[in-house]
Amino acid sequence: MNYIYDLHRTMMEQKLILVYEGDFTQETTKSILAMAERNLDSSAEESSTKRKVFNVMVEALQNIVKHSSEQGLKAGSLISKSAIFMISKTDSHYCVMTGNPIPKNHKEGLIDTLNLLNSKDKDGLKEMYKEIIKNSQISDKGGAGLGFVDMARKSGEKLEFLFAEMNEEYDFFCLKVNVPRDKE
């Protein structure tokens, strides 16, 4: 039973205020958002920071929902249910973090997309957003292809990412989006 204390200690050390592991649906998205919002409200955070964190959370959660439904069909519930979502809060930042399995053949495209986003400044991201929204169609999964761009814009910092090896078919895609806390 030591892992209970270990997990608690990890959460304290990493300053995690919310961790959710399990099945991701629109319903769980709404519940997580409601919980995180209560937390932000009770800590009297600046409203602009609150809005940005909320924004990033929605895109991050809906990304997982979309991908886990797709992966779930292909790989069964084991894959679809093994995603994680967490938020940490430090003096300077909120960090929205996600982890979910992706097929290895999606990895390269994802790396290219994220590196491209990280190479852009504020105006570059704005142009990209406008370009995509003008020309894209909503995919079968319901995405507009704008989620990462929007997260990068709301964050104002580089998107951090890492791929951990799961098995020969899947990697675990870890994403960390930092949102600076406004101090006035």
Partner: protein, 120 residues
């Protein structure tokens, strides 16, 4: 013409499209699971309205938050409104919500419709 009246929910906006009383408004939060499905009746309503619109139409957006999938559909709504004679968009945002102000500015650059910006 029938009134389109959708009650808002925690993840969908409140929508009223009422030709007779001249009320055209989308407000609240928009992060539906399927944005294309959610906005379909709105787009259909506007398409029907294009045939015989009021002399002037002030279409109000008063959104607190929308996700990226909704932003694509909001652009579709605005594109449909381009074909309405006498159209004007009233883009409302909370006075300290710069992101919502900027979002409105970006939309105004993407369509040929006069925008008026208002804070609340």
């Amino acid at each position: 013409m029938d009134i389109l009246n959708l009650e808002g929910a925690e993840d969908t906006p409140k929508i009223i499209l009422d030709k007779k009383n001249g009320i055209f408004e989308i407000s609240g939060r928009s992060l539906p699971e399927d944005s294309a499905e959610f906005y379909r009746p709105v787009l259909e309503w506007i398409e029907a309205y294009q045939a015989s619109p009021n002399a002037t139409t002030e279409f109000v957006f008063k959104l607190e938050y929308f996700n990226t999938a909704s932003s694509k559909l909001i652009l579709d709504v605005l594109s449909a409104l381009e074909d309405v004679k006498g159209i004007k968009v009233i883009w409302c945002f909370h006075e300290d919500d710069e992101d919502m102000e900027e979002a409105g500015e970006e939309f105004s650059e993407l369509v040929e419709i006069p925008f008026e910006f208002k804070t609340y």
